[in-house]
Symmetry: none
Subunit: 208 residues, 4 copies
Amino acid sequence: MPKKDPDYAGNKRNRILQAAIEVFSQKGFFGSKVSEIARASGVADGTIYIYFKSKDDLLIALFEEKMDEIVVEMRRKVNEYTNPLDKLKAYIENHMKLLEGEAGLIEVLQVELRQSSKFMKDYTPVKFFEYLDILSGIIEEGKEAGLFRLDMNVRVARRIVFGAMDELSRTYILSKRKNYHPSVTASEVFNLLADGLRAPGAENSGHV
Amino acid sequence: MPKKDPDYAGNKRNRILQAAIEVFSQKGFFGSKVSEIARASGVADGTIYIYFKSKDDLLIALFEEKMDEIVVEMRRKVNEYTNPLDKLKAYIENHMKLLEGEAGLIEVLQVELRQSSKFMKDYTPVKFFEYLDILSGIIEEGKEAGLFRLDMNVRVARRIVFGAMDELSRTYILSKRKNYHPSVTASEVFNLLADGLRAPGAENSGHV
Amino acid sequence: MPKKDPDYAGNKRNRILQAAIEVFSQKGFFGSKVSEIARASGVADGTIYIYFKSKDDLLIALFEEKMDEIVVEMRRKVNEYTNPLDKLKAYIENHMKLLEGEAGLIEVLQVELRQSSKFMKDYTPVKFFEYLDILSGIIEEGKEAGLFRLDMNVRVARRIVFGAMDELSRTYILSKRKNYHPSVTASEVFNLLADGLRAPGAENSGHV
Amino acid sequence: MPKKDPDYAGNKRNRILQAAIEVFSQKGFFGSKVSEIARASGVADGTIYIYFKSKDDLLIALFEEKMDEIVVEMRRKVNEYTNPLDKLKAYIENHMKLLEGEAGLIEVLQVELRQSSKFMKDYTPVKFFEYLDILSGIIEEGKEAGLFRLDMNVRVARRIVFGAMDELSRTYILSKRKNYHPSVTASEVFNLLADGLRAPGAENSGHV
DNA sequence: TATGAATGAGACTTCATTCAT
DNA sequence: GATGAATGAAGTCTCATTCAT
């Protein structure tokens, strides 16, 4: 029987990471003080600097590590299906569902990741690109399978899908989780993106 | 005849606003120093405080006033058409086109507006909602005209459209304006949103 | 008639410099807090950073500017004489006399200049070398005039002269200005260095 | 029979002391971190506090103990001679020679001892005075033997001798041990101090 | 109005020291 | 004795804002 939690250090590091998510998500990166994160983690200010080089480094570590978990999980979920449309649906549903379990994390990723390029010289959000790559993969497969339009740039399309989900996430979060419930909007996103705005019988010519 | 531009003060105020757009868009709100904006405007630091109560206030004024111009312009452009699909196309094209003429402004609106809720207690981006309302209006009209799906929540749909455009704007900006040229992606957005991902002949049943 | 002291800024900068000399000389560079220097100057902490880039920079500025004044004054004093021995005497007397008027400054120069090489990457105390060069010049002249030994490395000799003076300065300062009064020790230094330890009649052979 | 070196603790204490000399000499007292000394000693940070009360205490212990060794050695060397001039020569040569074997130690003693009075309230460098006392003794003897000038304050003279040596040590160290080789400068110091700057035939009157 | 030197609160970060193991 | 993770006091520096001119 171990005298102490063998995971002790990792434990503390993780507590800091979790507290950072909480605090960053509520006040934003610049609005958050290192001492607040320390207090929220139940450690001393200096302890944070044992595990992270700087406040910036803490944010980046948070991006990388949490995104990694999300990427792994998303890959697993998507691969439960074979049909590209099913995969797309799974991607969208899973993305929106994260909002419920990991609201703070998503909030940080959304807002801070976006502005990070402004103040962090040469930080490339590698894991975020991996997350988008899953989406590209699905769209490619769909095109190859003849299910998706061929006249569609995959890199643009994936951004459209992602942007739509992302905007709804943000709206849900900013509305203090009152409106646009993720599980509802997920299917709206899928429907609209899969089949377009147009009414089934509406004519298709003249545009595009 | 006045010796100096009677619009001098307004002129100076505007110079500050323009400089703020430039500086904020390059370094982000928190990365920008008031003195940098002063230098870029060609005024003294203190002068900024004659026209704006605080740095926060400067950002808000920028949001409101510039968004107002954009809203007015967008209304004009959209009202050149009567068919809701044409209006939607105009909205998307115009939105993406702003990226070319007013890149800095859009960048600020995108990134800073999003995080502003974190550090500005009770600021409601009224003008931004007006901008979205134009989109809602188009979608409502489309539904009424029987052109758009009826099984579609307008508030959700407008966010999907906006999110898609927004993500592509961001990508264009972050790629240093190299990839995803707005005028090209505008039609991709319209195509995909109007008609969906699905290939024309692909079966529609089983999903949704 | 100027409404304000035209020398105002220079005045404030100088007040900071003087306060820094005072504080550094009493507590050493590392023992001195920027806020103490601010208080001693009668300015706010931040004001120091208007005139100096950093605490290190303040020390360097102090070295350079004050040493420059000293070098100029020393050159003037030494050039009142033509005989190298007289010049040497003037150099030594003047050096020791500085201790009375500019005790704090000398103390800072002595102690901090010496350790500065440890913590300031690549700072070369140019002005200090100029000060030593005056001494070299005197010794060179003395050799050329046949007054000083020819079997003497000038660069080593100047360090011997300087080191002797310097050690006495330090001792005087560390004794809280009680013993080894500069004006007395100046002539001891001159006598000993000019004529050596040896008693006038003592035999000279057998050694060296 | 003990399983481990009975001198183990003393050994560890000494390793810390040696490491401290190395680290202090390279970075200065304030530039050195306790953890660096720990690493250099191959012990844990906390271990240092078993042997020394504080970082200050470590420096003082280093002064006292190492100076003690030097004093003992110097006394032995000097006492190999009986003639005060020979003793003086031995003192100077030995002092300069230390630079080769114990460069780091001398560097610490020189720079840090000097500034220690600034930050260590009431620390008296007893051993350093003993070192100087050896020099006083030699000069006294020389005066008594009629070999050295009688019109010479011993306490001042010893500082002159010490200062000259000290300055050359410093120069040698700061030049990264390239110029002013100790064994060469030692004899220059002796010559100049024993017989003065003046050329053998140069007139002696008018000055002093 | 305009200026810009001055202010000073407060942030990030360091590191000597402690103490449970 | 030995360890080294944790602590938290304290310092340097920044920068939004003010105000006398």
